[in-house]
């Protein structure tokens, strides 16, 4: 079993895992970071979205070994102590979640979206979140949350 090392939420981790271990499995089962969810088998739902070297990716569609040496951020790594990330706060205030299953992936995708484009139109947000499926909200309040967060994040 090879050793996989990476930085996760600022902390260096190193573990021996089987070569066919998905990154999401490494996060959830090896590291116990269960905030990243698994919602499908087909790489389509986005519940597993995290950041690898700053880019949003589906952690169910990447091997842990591919992230060897990378800088990884998960939903557990974005708050500042007890202070929620502006995107988390905005989802909370705008009722951007119901059951919450899609929310970690939705938030990680939305943060990357806002960080790469400060002037997002509603259409940009809807298209930018194409890879994240929500069964509950109808997306309306998710879009409102992202618009609100974009302003607070300096948009």
């Amino acid at each position: 079993m090879p050793t996989v090392s990476m930085k996760v939420n600022g902390q260096s981790v190193s573990h021996d895992v089987a070569d066919n271990t998905l990154l999401v499995t490494f996060l959830r089962e090896t590291l116990g970071l269960t905030g990243t969810h698994i919602g499908c088998d087909t790489s389509q739902c986005g519940a597993c979205v995290i950041h690898v070297n700053g880019a949003s990716v589906k952690s169910c569609t990447m091997l842990a070994a591919q992230a060897n040496g990378a800088d990884v951020t998960t939903i557990e790594g974005i708050a500042n102590g007890d202070e929620l990330h502006p995107m988390q706060q905005a989802f909370h205030e705008n009722h951007g979640l119901q059951c919450g299953f899609c929310t970690p992936g939705m938030i990680m995708s939305a943060i990357e979206l806002v960080e790469t484009n400060k002037n997002l139109s509603e259409q940009d947000i809807r298209e930018g979140l194409e890879g994240n499926i929500c069964r509950c909200t109808g997306y309306h309040n998710i879009v409102k949350s992202v618009q609100d967060a974009a302003q607070k994040m300096g948009g």
């Binding site: 066919n20 998905l22 088998d41 569609t61 091997l63 890879g131």
Partner: protein, 263 residues
């Protein structure tokens, strides 16, 4: 996923050697097709050879063409200034593949090598008359796409880059499958000094193909109205739960019309 060995190749020669040495080795690029396939246990390669460290991610513009390294991800093509300026159809095609997360990982080499009959890139490569550079040779687009999920690549051959000639005008319009975002029908229109080339993906039973009637009509006059009243034969078109051959035939002309209007 079945057990497998993961190795990272140092360069193309190393990847080729590792591929040749494996019983049933598979190259791993962005993983956006291969990993879902492995998760569903539809393949069981004994070795996965990762191309990520081979220095194949690059975009360079020469006078009349753009060369894209095989490991360049869709997002990089979509967001590259030179691509947007020289070949807007190509930029919008790359920017419309799947979703942001797929575009951050998936690569042009993987897309072209896979030759999914509903994939977007094959339409651009064929319409632009591109060249596929490999570890062994250069292959013209016309000779590369052989059939559904089939290419001219040898078992141990690696795509290193794709060169795409710069057209005067280009556009790609797809009718996306609402669930997967793959093309139910996608049409790439490219106008060159010596004529118009049109390639269709998502529709053909043998994968991507050129639409010669549409090309002739648009070469005569590059105007969406040139396609008024045109019908496509259903012969050789796919029919599935998403669309019948007749519906796809209709969509081809309609997507071509929209592509010309977008040029």
């Amino acid at each position: 996923m079945y057990a497998t060995d993961y190795v990272k190749a140092a360069d193309v020669a190393d990847a080729a050697a590792k591929l040749a040495a494996a019983d049933d080795g598979k190259l791993l690029a962005g993983g956006q097709t291969l990993l879902p396939t492995l998760k569903q246990r539809l393949a069981s390669p004994d070795k996965l050879i990762d191309l990520a460290g081979c220095g194949l991610s690059s975009i360079s513009k020469s006078g009349d063409a753009i060369k894209i390294g095989a490991m360049t991800c869709h997002a990089d093509v979509a967001n590259h200034k030179d691509v947007a300026a020289a070949n807007p159809g190509l930029a919008s095609l790359a920017g419309g593949i799947g979703d942001r997360q797929v575009r951050n990982c998936g690569t042009i080499g993987g897309s072209v090598a896979n030759n999914d009959p509903a994939a977007c890139y094959p339409a651009a490569v064929l319409a632009l008359g591109g060249t596929i550079h490999t570890s062994k040779r250069d292959i013209a687009a016309e000779d590369f796409f052989v059939g559904m999920f089939e290419t001219a690549l040898d078992e141990d051959e690696i795509i290193t880059a794709v060169t795409l000639p710069t057209p005067q005008k280009s556009a790609y319009i797809k009718f996306p499958n609402p669930a997967s975002r793959y093309a139910m029908v996608g049409v790439f229109v490219a106008q060159f000094a010596d004529g118009v080339r049109v390639a269709v993906t998502g529709a053909g039973e043998d994968g991507v193909f050129r639409a010669s009637d549409i090309e002739a009509a648009l070469t005569a006059k590059f105007d969406a109205a040139s396609l008024d009243g045109m019908t496509m034969s259903e012969d050789g078109l796919m029919g599935d739960i998403h669309a019948s051959p007749a519906y796809r035939a209709h969509l081809i002309v309609e997507m071509a019309r929209r592509a010309v209007a977008a040029c």
